[in-house]
Structures are given as structure tokens and as C-alpha cells.
């Protein structure tokens, strides 16, 4: 079947079989390999993408089931050469060790901060509870999310009131 999605703000039509997961379509058909594949059984969170602004696991999402929906992957966050504030904060805080969990961590963080740019530590831990970092680099990751939230608030204020606000 032909299924159309909005992936990273682009309308894309893919010829699918019913049994293909979104993870397979992103990685194998569309070469969007920033979305990682690891446990493939919804435990680790490396395959997290945003579907309609919410963090979802692409390994347990049938691609045909989300046709017509808006999907954002890690490749869709940066605007040209300018990284998303969450990506930038992860770099600045040295939040990346082996890096394998990071795309999923970032997608969950972006989904959280879109809804709540000033989360508490508990809210961050709760929102990222589906993303496992095997390097146990959580403190730096949480620091980056706090910082990115502050940057997003400041960016939104600037957008609303102008750069001198």
C-alpha cells in the first residue's frame, strides 16, 4: 500500500507492506539512521521519535498505522546548520558518552520542553523514564534539559517581544 506521512515537515509517500514498523521505514527506506535500533521491544527508548509532538517508540509502531501523521526524527530538529537548543545543550554540557541513546533522549526531551519548558528535576526524570543510558550519563543529560528549557523560554520571549527584551 502507498502511505503518506509528514516526516520532518516533508510530505513523503512510501510503498509499504503492512508489517513494516516505522523504525524500519525510517532507517531502511528513508535512510534516517539517526533514529537508533537496539532492543526492538520498547524497553530502551533509542528508537524514540515524535508523532504529533509526542514521544513514541518507532519499533512498536506499524508504519501504515501512522500514515497521515506528523513524524519528527532527530534529523528534523536542526534548522540548517543551527542545532536545536536541546541538541546544543547536550553538546555544551558534555551529555554524550557513547552516544547511542542520545537521539532518543533528545527526542523525549524536545517533546517534554515543547509542552513544559521549565520542568522540575522530577518532571524531567519522569519524561525520560523510557530512555535508558547504558553509560549512566543521566546527570549531564538532565543538566542539559534544564538548560535547554531556559534557552527555549528566552528564545520564545525574544520572538514575542523582540531581541531587546
Amino acid at each position: 500500500m502507498d502511505a503518506t506521512f509528514t516526516i520532518n515537515k516533508k510530505l513523503i509517500t512510501v510503498n509499504l507492506k503492512g508489517n513494516e514498523t516505522l523504525l524500519e521505514v525510517l532507517r531502511d527506506y528513508l535512510s534516517l539512521t539517526g533514529t537508533k535500533t537496539a532492543c526492538q521491544e520498547s524497553e530502551c527508548g533509542t528508537c524514540t521519535v515524535m508523532i504529533n509532538g509526542k514521544a513514541n517508540l518507532s519499533c512498536i509502531t506499524l508504519a501504515a498505522n501512522v500514515q497521515g501523521e506528523e513524524i519528527t526524527t532527530i534529523e528534523g530538529l536542526a534548522q540548517g546548520d543551527v542545532l536545536h537548543p536541546v541538541q546544543q545543550a547536550f553538546i555544551e554540557h558534555g551529555s554524550v558518552q557513547c552516544g547511542f541513546c542520545i537521539p532518543g533522549m533528545i527526542m523525549s526531551s524536545v517533546a517534554l520542553l515543547e509542552k513544559n519548558p521549565t520542568p522540575t528535576q522530577t518532571e524531567i526524570e519522569y519524561a525520560l523514564d523510557g530512555n535508558i543510558c547504558r553509560c549512566a550519563g543521566y546527570p549531564k543529560i538532565f543538566e542539559a534539559v534544564h538548560d535547554a528549557g531556559k534557552k527555549l523560554v528566552s528564545m520564545r520571549a525574544q520572538k514575542k517581544h523582540g531581541p531587546n527584551s
Binding site: S42, T61, N65
Partner: protein, 293 residues
């Protein structure tokens, strides 16, 4: 080169071949539910797709037809009309968590949702899936039994059937009709407590879930309902404990005393003494919580 590419894709398939059905109305879905052979219903997919993947790795056959409810708008949403809360089958756990429930005993649903699995799972998993997936360890069954909910099903002829969760789980969570929604009456004087224990810190499979609903007037307990999921059988009530509590008055020792009045078969089906103990202390603390109010 293109042949090699195709082979790689086939090798990477996580699921066996299947036909995905995407009805747009609940009646269409109810008809397909009745008509399709060798089929499974796909709600959030967090149980079904994982189990289908696991079966594939074991070389076991999986359902050929998947009936997805994702495009049936009628099956989505939470609402309150008068004194009745209605939760549609395709309501995601996080949607219920974000719904402003009225003050009172229904707030327990927020506690239940908060404790389910992880954030992306709560974004995907549905209330209907949790109730009807036929895994014995899901928690919503015990909660719906305690809250005296009603489960609504739709037949292929468009006729609705309403049954209690207790009956539904006594029938091993089987129905020939499509589950559409659950309704719960608000009860101003009712109080609730909920306990859930998961298998390990990292494996979010509940070992037990129990929910108590009662009314307490002048410290006397009445209309107590206890829904229990021991993870072995489907969710059920504990009639002996309910009877005891309905003759009881709140006291600091009530939790301890209650443990002498259990339908022991429910609690002792767990495999280890540790699990049996966890069950008892969870029950005791839930009763103590209500006795303090």
C-alpha cells in the same frame, strides 16, 4: 544491487507478513472484528506488537489480520456527562492522565496512569488495550472492578452490550463484540486506594495491582469493592475481605486484622513467599491509608 537491497529489507523484518485493516468507524470495526479470521485487534500496540515480534523470533505463527483502531475517531477521548465519566477504548494512558478528573475517588485513575510503564509507552498504550489485551498482569482490570465501572461493547449489528468488568474477566477477557468504552459513575462519598508492584526496577511488568473503593461514615465501612490482579489469573474481587471490611470500623489495626480475612487463593497463587508477603503488605497499607481518612 537492488536485489541485495531487497534481501536486506526482508531480513530485517521484525514481524511476520500481515494484512492491516484500518476501519474509520466503530461499526465498521465491529463488523471486521466479527468477520476476520486469524485476527488480532491493534490498539496502542505496546502489548501486541511486542508479542508478535517475540513469536516471530521463536518461529511461531502470528495473526494474519490486524484490525487497527487507530483511525476510528469515535473511539478516542475522555468526557464527563452529568455524573458519568466515559473513557473511550483508544484513549491513551497519558491522555487520561492529563484529563482534569473531578475531585474525589476518580482521581485514583491519575495515580494508576502515572504508574504505568514509561513515558513513550504511556503516550502509545490505550485504556482499551490494557483492559482487553488478555494479559493477566495488566492493571486496569482491577481498577475498573473496584470502581464498579461498566464496559460497553458494540456488535456487528450495531447493538450495544454493557457488562461489568467482573463478568468480563470471569470470562477470561473474551468477547465476540468490540470494546468501545468504559463508563464510571462519580460517587461523592467514595474513597479509593491503589497499590501496584512491578517486577523489577527496570522491567515494568506489574507483579500485582490492587484497588480498593469504599465509603466510610462515622468510621464504619460500607459498599467496599476490592479489585485485585495477582498477575496469574485475570482481575477479580475478594468477596471474603469485602465482607469483613463492610462490617468493620476504621482503626489503626484494621489493616493487620484484615489480613486474617482474605480469600487466600487469590494471594497465594504467587510463586514465592516474597511475592505473597508483598501482596499482604500492599493490601495492609492500602487499608490503613483509607482508615486514616
Amino acid at each position: 544491487m537492488s536485489n541485495i537491497y531487497s534481501l536486506v529489507i526482508l531480513e530485517s523484518m521484525l514481524l511476520n507478513p500481515l494484512t492491516l485493516h484500518l476501519p474509520k468507524t466503530s461499526l465498521e470495526a465491529a463488523r471486521l472484528y466479527k468477520e476476520l479470521e486469524d485476527s488480532k485487534v491493534l490498539a496502542g500496540g505496546t502489548f501486541l506488537l511486542n508479542s508478535m515480534k517475540l513469536l516471530k523470533t521463536k518461529g511461531t505463527k502470528t495473526a494474519k489480520n490486524i484490525l487497527s483502531l487507530s483511525k476510528v475517531e469515535e473511539l478516542k477521548g475522555v468526557s464527563i456527562e452529568g455524573d458519568t465519566l466515559s473513557i473511550k477504548a483508544m484513549t491513551r494512558i497519558n491522555e487520561l492522565l492529563e484529563f482534569p478528573l473531578p475531585e474525589g475517588h476518580l482521581k485514583i485513575l491519575h495515580t494508576v496512569c502515572t504508574n504505568i510503564s514509561t513515558n513513550p509507552i504511556r503516550n502509545m498504550a490505550t485504556v482499551g488495550g490494557n483492559l482487553t489485551c488478555r494479559y493477566t498482569w495488566t492493571e486496569m482490570g482491577a481498577v475498573m472492578i473496584a470502581l464498579d465501572a461498566q464496559m460497553h461493547f458494540l456488535g456487528p449489528d450495531g447493538k450495544e452490550e454493557i457488562i461489568s468488568p467482573e463478568e468480563f474477566f470471569k470470562n477470561a477477557a473474551r468477547s465476540e463484540k468490540l470494546f468501545t468504552h468504559v463508563t464510571i459513575k462519580t460517587q461523592k462519598t467514595a474513597r479509593t486506594a491503589y497499590r501496584r508492584v512491578k517486577k523489577t526496577v527496570h522491567v515494568d511488568v506489574p507483579s500485582l495491582a490492587l484497588c480498593l473503593k469504599t465509603e466510610i461514615k462515622d468510621k464504619k465501612w460500607y459498599n467496599t469493592r476490592i479489585g485485585i490482579n495477582n498477575g496469574v489469573a485475570f482481575a477479580q474481587r475478594d468477596p471474603i475481605l469485602e465482607e469483613f471490611l463492610n462490617k468493620s470500623t476504621s482503626s489503626p489495626n484494621l489493616g493487620k486484622e484484615a489480613l486474617e480475612h482474605l480469600t487466600t487463593a487469590i494471594y497465594d497463587t504467587r510463586s514465592s513467599d516474597y511475592k505473597k508477603h508483598i501482596f499482604r503488605i500492599s493490601l495492609k497499607s492500602a487499608i490503613e491509608e483509607l482508615a486514616k481518612t
